[in-house]
């Protein structure tokens, strides 16, 4: 990765994540895919170590892009990102960051067991001619128990339920012993009971492993259940509050739409916000792509 001069921010306790004036656009984005028309505009955000941040926003708001920036898969067009005071690529190399990708992209026909999935990323750091060290094997067993995946460790991926696979993917993300866990739309396609278990698991991991957690979702309910703070994202950052601080005004700003009626009870009516946001947000995002 290119060496760029970083602003050195002096502080007593380094934050887990610092974004200062981060902007990103897809200059070469193919115009046929409207979801790539996203622009992140001047985002500044600090996440203290140990915090659980939910990034909430409609589809196409740049949530996944934000995660990719934090992972160092893409670089910002301007601004700086520090992960535990390291560049994102360096932090990734050190194993500081664990990533739980969207579950629905996974091919269920793949001939691997739950345990083999958890092994996958640590295995990549083992030399081709060497076996996985016994120590690593033990750690993987522990992880499977920790996320409650021990009993189905030997089952093929095709036989796992959505919630079970979610646990397996979380265990895999933890296999590099990260301090920061990033989750991309973790609750999509998981039923209510599963979502509750998922929130419990995340709370437990947060407590036991002292993790900093960033969860990206278009599901307010999932975020409200397990986050200390919420960032609302639609191109730019619209609010940065505790879950209780999501007011009708904030939502209206994010969705550029009057959704006051939604907030009678966030937990019950959050889905209404999802229903109404799609067109409005696309309309907002597209002019920005006109460059």
């Amino acid at each position: 990765m290119s060496q760029r001069p970083h602003e050195h921010i002096e502080s007593a306790t380094p934050s887990a994540i610092e974004l200062s004036h981060v902007s990103f656009n897809y200059r070469n984005a193919p115009s046929r895919n409207s979801s790539s028309a996203v622009v992140l505009d001047d985002i500044s955000l600090t996440v203290p170590a140990g915090e659980r941040l939910g990034v909430f926003g409609p589809n196409g708001a740049g949530k996944s892009t934000l995660l990719k920036l934090m992972l160092g898969i893409i670089e910002p067009c301007s601004g700086h990102i520090r992960i535990f005071d390291q560049s994102p690529t360096h932090a990734r190399k050190l194993g500081t960051v664990g990533f739980v990708p969207q579950r629905l992209n996974i091919v269920s026909a793949f001939p691997v067991t739950a345990r083999q999935i958890v092994e996958m990323t640590v295995a990549c750091t083992t030399k081709p001619l060497k076996r996985l060290p016994a120590q690593t094997q033990l750690y993987i067993d522990e992880l499977m128990e920790l996320v409650g995946a021990g009993e189905f460790a030997a089952q093929p991926v095709g036989t796992l339920s959505g919630g079970q696979l979610q646990r397996v993917l979380i265990a895999r993300a933890l296999s590099n012993k990260p301090n920061l866990l990033l989750l991309d739309e973790p609750t999509v396609g998981i039923d209510l009971a599963g979502q509750q278990q998922f929130a419990q698991l995340l709370n437990e991991l947060h407590r036991k492993l002292k993790l900093t957690i960033v969860m990206v979702s278009h599901d307010l309910r999932a975020i409200a259940a397990g986050c200390d703070r919420v960032a609302c994202l639609a191109g730019s950052l619209h609010a940065h509050t505790s879950p209780d601080g999501i007011t009708p005004a904030v939502l209206a700003e994010v969705f550029s739409h009057d959704v006051a009626s939604v907030l009678g009870d966030i937990h019950v009516h959050a889905h209404k916000a999802e229903e109404c946001h799609d067109e409005t947000c696309q309309q907002e995002a597209e002019p920005e792509n006109g460059s």
């Binding site: 897809y26 984005a29 193919p30 690529t89 990734r92 001939p111 691997v112 996958m120």
Partner: protein
Amino acid sequence: MKTLQYLSDPLLAGLFWPGVLVGLAIAITCAALSWLIVLRRLAFIGQGVSHAAFGGLGLASLIASFGLDFANSTGRFPIVLIFCVLAGALISRMSTKRAVGGGWAVDTAIGIVLVASMAGGAVMLHLSHVVLDAQGTSQSLPQIQWEAILFGSITSVGWGDVAVAAGVMVLILIALFWLRRPMLLWAFDPDAADAVGVSSKRMSLTLIVLISLIVVMAMKLAGVVLVTAFLVLPGSIALQLTQSLNTTRIISMLVAIGAVLGGLIVSFELDWPSGASIVLMLITMHLLASVWGWVRQRRPLVRTS
């Protein structure tokens, strides 16, 4: 009856064994790639890359028409090989997901590269005639044996071909073994691969270049249809029978080896075309595997989503 006579008869054995060995080398190599091809939905990559050979042949004639005769003799195969591997790389490049969104579906990329290289090849062949006509030497253009290139004959290969096929097999198997862990992570979950620094672009490119290598090597000896069969069927058969990665690998290999031996024996016994016999052997195994899966009340493991 000439039953199994060819195994001992020195004259017939000289015809039989090189074909068998080349067939086995190609089959084993393709079988090692097959499960990745099935799961990453690259079944038609063989077609794309092999038809790109037309482009390579056209380019070779064009170069030769400018008086560089090597392009139509010793240089022809390397030119075709490089052209095909580049076509494979282009397919990979076109179909790789960019940072967000983007990228064509692999089948679209294959379709575009396939017709582009065939049309380009035809035009370049035409231009080479134009160039030679202008020089008044069009008689000297050697005839290109298109048929031999598209439908190789596995029973007419020599010991030199055996050595080449074995070399390519060893090369590809070593590459696959060396990269087995990152390749598995990428094949299972490209996003997670990128997140731990296993570049999904590089993995896709590596796999497609390996496939291009074996396809070009094999189509001269075995023909395009047989190569596609070897690339797709061992994996699809194995994935119907097991949900374990190692068993998938082993079954793929055994299926491919069995099909070569069985197919060639049928071909010699009944005097059937050899490539077709091997393909039909694989198809039969696929049907048996489907029946077995149905009997065991397993759902089909590879579904279209």
